[in-house]
C-alpha cells in the first residue's frame, strides 16, 4: 500500500548537478523542497578519500560509482528493423547513480556552446541552404539565444571556480584564449591549469600550423577558491584520477564541493536517498502534476505530493519517466508524430595516438587532470566553411590526455603482437613516450528522424514496466565530419614529432559496448513549437506546466563540446524563470 507523505512545495527527482542547483535556488525563494535520489548519499571525505579513490580496477573497470544494470537498464538496437536487446554491462556511456550524479565522476570540462549552436537550423539554412542538410536530419533551434544564456553560464562558471583563459571578453578577442567563443561578461574565476609536457607540445605544434590553441576550460581548479556560497575548493594536484572517480582533494567542481554542504544546512531542504521515483502523478485532467511516487529500498511505495515537480535525472531517465508517467505524446518516427523520445543524440569522438621516440620524449603521463589540455576550435560548429566538405557540424580537438592510469594506458604502436613478451616489451618501451588524447576529437552529433527513444515491446524492469529502447546509429554526415576532423588532428599529432600514429576514426555502426562519452542528449527537447519539442524555452513541460525537466535531455541536438556547462547554465536559466515568472503566476510561461 502506498503511504502518503506531507505535501511539499517542490519535489526534485534526482540530486545531481541540476537537482542541486534547482534545490538551492528554490530554497532561496523560501520554498519547502525535497529531493528524491535513487542512489546512495555520497560525500567527499567519506566516499572519495585519497586513501583509496585512485583505484582504477574498482572505479574504472568495475564501475563502482555507476548504476547497476540489475537495477535498471535499457534495450538497444542500431536500426528500426532490428530487435533491441537489453544492455547487461555498460559500454558506450555510464549511467550515474547516487547523490552528485554525473557531477561526481565527470572530468570537469567546462565548455560553452557557440552562439550559432543555439540557432543551428536557422544558421545553417541561411548559410548553406536547406538542401545542404541531409533529408532525415531533424535539427532545430533551441528557442533561446547564447546572449540570454550568458549570465547563467557565468553563474555556473563562478559556482565551480572554473579555471581557464578568456578568449572573448565582452567582444574583445584575447590572445591565448579561444577566439571563437561567444562573448563572456567576465574572465574565468581562476587562471587556466598548468599544462604538462605533451599538452604543451600539442599547443606549440598547433600554433606552428597556424591554429590558435588555448587551454581547455577546467572544473579542476588551478588554485584554491571560495565560491559564492562560501564553499572552499583546493588546488588540483594533477593526480590524473578524475573521470570515473570522485575527487579526493576538493579540487573538482561537483555538487559535493560547490553546493551540497551549503544546501543541507537549510531547514527548508530535505532529501531521501536510495529511493527510486517510479512515476510522476497527474490529476484527472492530465495537465497538472500532483507529486511523485517512489519506492524505498524496503520495497515500500510512498507518495510525495508537491505543487511543483522538477525532473532532474540523467537524460535517459528523464525521458523514461515521462514515458512511464504518460506525459506528452511518445514520438513515432514512422508517422512523424509525438515528441517524447525524439531527437536523441550522443557525441562523435575519435582519437589519434602518437608514438614518440622513447629516447627523446618522456611525457610522464601521470601528471594530468580530467580537463587538462590544449585545444583548438577552428573545426567546431560552423567556425569553418562546410561548403566544400559536404557535411555539417564539427568539434574541438586537443591533447586532453587525462592521466597515465596503468590498466588503460598500455598502448603499443600498430604492428605490435597483441600478447606475450614482445607486447610486454613494447608496453614498457612506449609507456612514457606515447600521446594518448582519449577523446581528442570531440565532434557534434546532430539529430535524425530514426534515432530516438521509446518503450521496448518485450523487456520489462523490476516493476514490470517496459524498459526504454534506444535506437541509435551513426549517419554519413557524422562519419564524414569525423573523418575530416580526425585527419586534421592527426596532422597536429604528427607535427608534435610522433614517429608512428594510430588513427582511430569513429566508424559505424554505432557501438554500444565500448566507451565513448556519457554525453547522451535529447529525447525531451526544448523549443518554440510544441509539435517538435517536449519543453518550452524555459524547460517547462508544454503538457504539464508545473513540471520542469532539466538536463541534456533538453538539447535539440548536440554540439561539438562537453555538455555539462550548458546543462548547469540551463538549470540556472530555468530556475530564474521559475523564480521571476512562474511563482508569481503559476501556469504556462508560454502560450501553447
Amino acid at each position: 500500500m502506498t503511504k502518503r507523505l506531507p505535501r511539499k512545495d517542490v519535489v526534485i527527482i534526482g540530486l545531481g548537478w541540476t537537482g542541486s542547483i534547482m534545490a538551492n535556488e528554490l530554497t532561496d525563494e523560501g520554498l519547502e523542497v525535497i529531493a528524491i535520489e535513487r542512489g546512495p548519499w555520497r560525500d567527499s571525505p567519506t566516499d572519495f578519500p585519497p586513501t583509496y579513490i585512485q583505484d582504477e580496477l574498482r572505479y574504472r573497470v568495475r564501475h563502482e560509482l555507476f548504476l547497476r544494470p540489475d537495477q535498471l537498464t535499457f534495450t538497444f538496437r542500431n536500426k528500426m528493423d532490428q530487435t533491441a536487446l537489453p544492455i547487461r554491462s555498460w559500454g558506450a556511456f555510464m549511467p550515474p547513480n547516487g547523490v552528485g550524479g554525473g557531477g561526481v565522476h565527470w572530468n570537469g570540462e567546462m565548455w560553452r556552446f557557440l552562439p550559432s549552436d543555439f540557432v543551428l537550423k536557422t544558421h545553417l539554412t541561411e548559410r548553406y541552404g536547406a538542401a545542404f542538410l541531409p533529408g532525415d536530419m531533424t535539427i532545430q533551434d533551441w528557442g533561446l539565444t547564447y546572449d540570454e544564456l550568458e549570465p547563467h553560464y557565468d553563474r555556473f562558471e563562478y559556482l565551480c571556480g572554473t579555471s581557464g583563459t578568456a578568449g572573448n571578453l565582452r567582444g574583445q578577442i584575447i590572445e591565448g584564449g579561444n577566439p571563437f567563443e561567444g562573448a563572456r561578461s567576465r574572465p574565468y574565476p581562476t587562471p587556466a591549469q598548468a599544462q604538462p609536457f605533451s599538452h604543451t607540445l600539442f599547443g606549440k605544434a598547433a600554433r606552428d600550423l597556424g591554429y590558435k590553441p588555448f587551454p581547455q576550460p577546467s572544473g579542476n581548479l588551478s588554485e584554491a577558491y571560495t565560491n559564492p556560497l562560501g564553499l572552499k575548493m583546493g588546488p588540483c594536484t594533477y593526480c590524473g584520477f578524475c573521470e570515473w572517480f570522485g575527487c579526493a582533494n576538493y579540487s573538482k567542481a561537483s555538487p559535493q564541493t560547490t553546493i551540497l554542504p551549503y544546501l543541507v544546512r537549510k531547514p527548508n531542504f530535505s532529501a531521501r536517498d536510495n529511493s527510486e521515483v517510479i512515476r510522476i502523478n497527474l490529476d484527472k485532467s492530465g495537465t497538472r502534476a500532483t507529486g511523485v511516487t517512489f519506492v524505498d529500498s524496503s520495497g515500500q511505495d510512498w507518495e510525495q505530493p508537491a505543487d511543483l515537480v522538477i525532473l532532474s535525472a540523467y537524460t535517459l531517465f528523464n525521458v523514461q519517466l515521462l514515458l512511464h508517467s504518460r506525459i506528452g505524446q511518445p514520438y513515432d518516427p514512422v508517422k512523424g508524430t509525438g515528441t517524447v523520445g525524439r531527437n536523441y543524440t550522443h557525441q562523435t569522438v575519435s582519437t589519434v595516438n602518437g608514438f614518440f621516440d622513447p629516447k627523446k620524449f618522456n611525457f610522464n603521463p601521470f601528471i594530468a587532470s580530467g580537463s587538462i589540455g590544449m585545444c583548438i576550435d577552428e573545426f567546431n560548429g560552423d567556425n569553418f566553411d562546410h561548403g566544400p566538405h559536404g557535411f555539417v557540424g564539427g568539434g574541438y580537438m586537443g591533447q586532453v590526455q587525462t592521466g597515465g592510469r596503468p590498466i588503460e594506458s598500455t598502448l603499443v604502436p600498430p604492428g605490435t603482437p597483441k600478447w606475450g613478451a614482445a607486447w610486454k616489451s613494447a608496453v614498457k618501451e612506449n609507456y612514457l613516450s606515447t600521446v594518448k588524447p582519449g577523446t581528442g576529437v570531440h565532434g557534434s552529433f546532430y539529430a535524425y528522424r530514426d534515432i530516438y527513444l521509446d518503450l521496448d515491446p518485450t523487456f520489462t524492469d523490476r516493476f514490470n514496466r517496459p524498459l526504454m529502447r534506444i535506437t541509435m546509429d551513426l549517419k554519413d554526415n557524422e562519419l564524414k565530419q569525423n573523418k575530416f576532423l580526425t585527419d586534421k588532428f592527426a596532422e597536429i599529432i604528427k607535427a608534435m614529432g610522433a614517429d608512428k600514429l594510430a588513427v582511430q576514426y569513429r566508424t559505424g555502426p554505432y557501438d554500444i559496448t565500448t566507451y565513448q562519452t556519457t554525453h547522451l542528449n535529447g529525447g525531451a527537447v526544448m523549443g518554440t513549437d510544441r509539435n517538435t519539442s517536449v519543453l518550452n524555452r524555459y524547460l517547462q513541460s508544454w503538457d504539464v506546466p508545473n513540471l520542469f525537466v532539466l538536463g541534456a535531455s533538453a538539447f535539440p541536438q548536440n554540439a561539438g563540446y562537453n555538455p555539462t556547462l550548458t546543462v548547469g547554465a540551463l538549470a540556472y536559466w530555468a530556475a530564474a524563470a521559475i523564480r521571476d515568472k512562474y511563482l508569481k503566476n503559476p501556469g504556462r510561461l508560454i502560450d501553447a
Binding site: T51, A224, L231, C239, R265
Partner: protein, 414 residues
Amino acid sequence: MRRPSRLVLTATACVMGAIALPVYAGSPQDFPQVERGRYLAILSDCASCHTVPGSNQPFAGGRPIETPFGNIVTPNITPDAETGIGSWSDDQFEAAVRKGIRRDGSRLYPAMPYNAYTKMSRDDVLAIRAYLNTLTPVRNAVVANTLPFPFNIRTAMRAWDALYFTEGEYKPDPNQSAEWNRGAFLVNGPGHCTACHTPKTFLGGDKTDQYLRGSYLQGWSAPDITNDARLGLGRWSKEDIVAYLRSGHNRVTAATGPMGEVVTLSTSYMTDPDLKAIATYLKSLPGKIEGPAQLAANEPPMIAGAAIFRDQCSACHGLDGKGVADLFPSVGDSSMVRSDDPTTLIRIVLRGARSVGTDAQPTAPGMPSYGRQLDDSEIAAVLTYIRNSSSAAAGAVTADQVSKVRRDTATRPD
C-alpha cells in the same frame, strides 16, 4: 459560621502553600531576562552535555559523559516537573550550577563545571533558568550516577570541593581593560575552557600551575591555549582565534572532535565582541620559553617520515606542509602538531577526522583514516617528521604511543 470559616481557611492554606512552595520566581514575559539567559546558555554550552548527540530533544539529558572514574549521565534540564527542573526553586538551581550542590543537599560531580560556573552571578544563572523554563518540558528520567564504587559515594565530593573548588563570582582586575576582563570571565566562567584545557590531578582537580596548558580527555589531547609560541596560540593573531571560534576554521587549522562540538553549539553563536574578548585574554597568558631541540633531518624516522609525508599527505597539506587556508590545516603552523601529548595527532591520522560545518564555513572538509594502510611505526615516523619540519621542534612520536592510541580508540565512536 464554622463551615464558611473552614472553607476560607482551606483556601488561605492553599494560597499560603503556593507561596511557600519553592518555585521559580522569574516570569516568562521577562523577555530581557529570557534572552540574556539564552545567550548565557550558549556561552556555557549547556546544550552540548545535556543533549544526546543527534537527538531532537535538546536539554533533555541522558548523554553519558566519560570521566577517568567512569561515565556520568547528564540530567534532564527541561522544565518537566517530575524528571526535569520544573519543580526546582531558584535557590536549588543556583546551588547546583554555582556551588555543585544537588537538590537533596548531596554533591554534584565536577563533570558539571560548577567550579567555572561559580564565576557567573546569581542573576546570570537565574537568567539561564528563566530561559530553560521557556522550553518545551520533556519527560525523560535519567539515572545520573553510573560510577563504580567507590566513586559512586557522593559524600567524597565534599573533600574534593575543599581541595579544588572556590566559590565566588568573577572579580574584574582593575588593572586590565574591560575587554580583557570580559574575556577572562568568559574563559574561566561560562566558557569553562579549563575543564578540557587545564591538566588534571589524579583526583580530577585542576593543576592550577599548568592553567590552560593542554590536557587529555575522552581519547583526545586538548591543546595548550596560552600564548605559548610553540605549543599554544603564540603564532595566531587575535583574528585567527576569532575566525576559529566563529567558523571552526582559520588559516592554520580546523576544529574537530569535542572542540568541533563546542564550535557548533557554542562559540559559532557568540558575538564578535565576546570572541575578541576571549582572544585578547588568551593572548595575554604567558607561554613557556624552553622547548626541545629540533630532530636532525638525517635521523632514520625523519627520512622515512619525509617520504611518507610526500607520498600520503602532501596532496592536501602541500609539499611545504602549509595546506590551504580554511580547508586543509597547515601541519607546519599548527601548534597541535607539536603538542607534548600527541594523542590527538595520532588519533587523527589513525582514524581520520572531520571538521565542523558552520554558517561561516559550510564545507566541513575531512581527513581520511590512515589506520589501515600505515602501520604504527610508519605513523610514528611521519608524525615525528611533521613535528620537526620547517622551523618546528617537538619530541619524536614512538610506535608504542601510536599502538596505545590505536588500542584506546579501537572501539570508540568518532
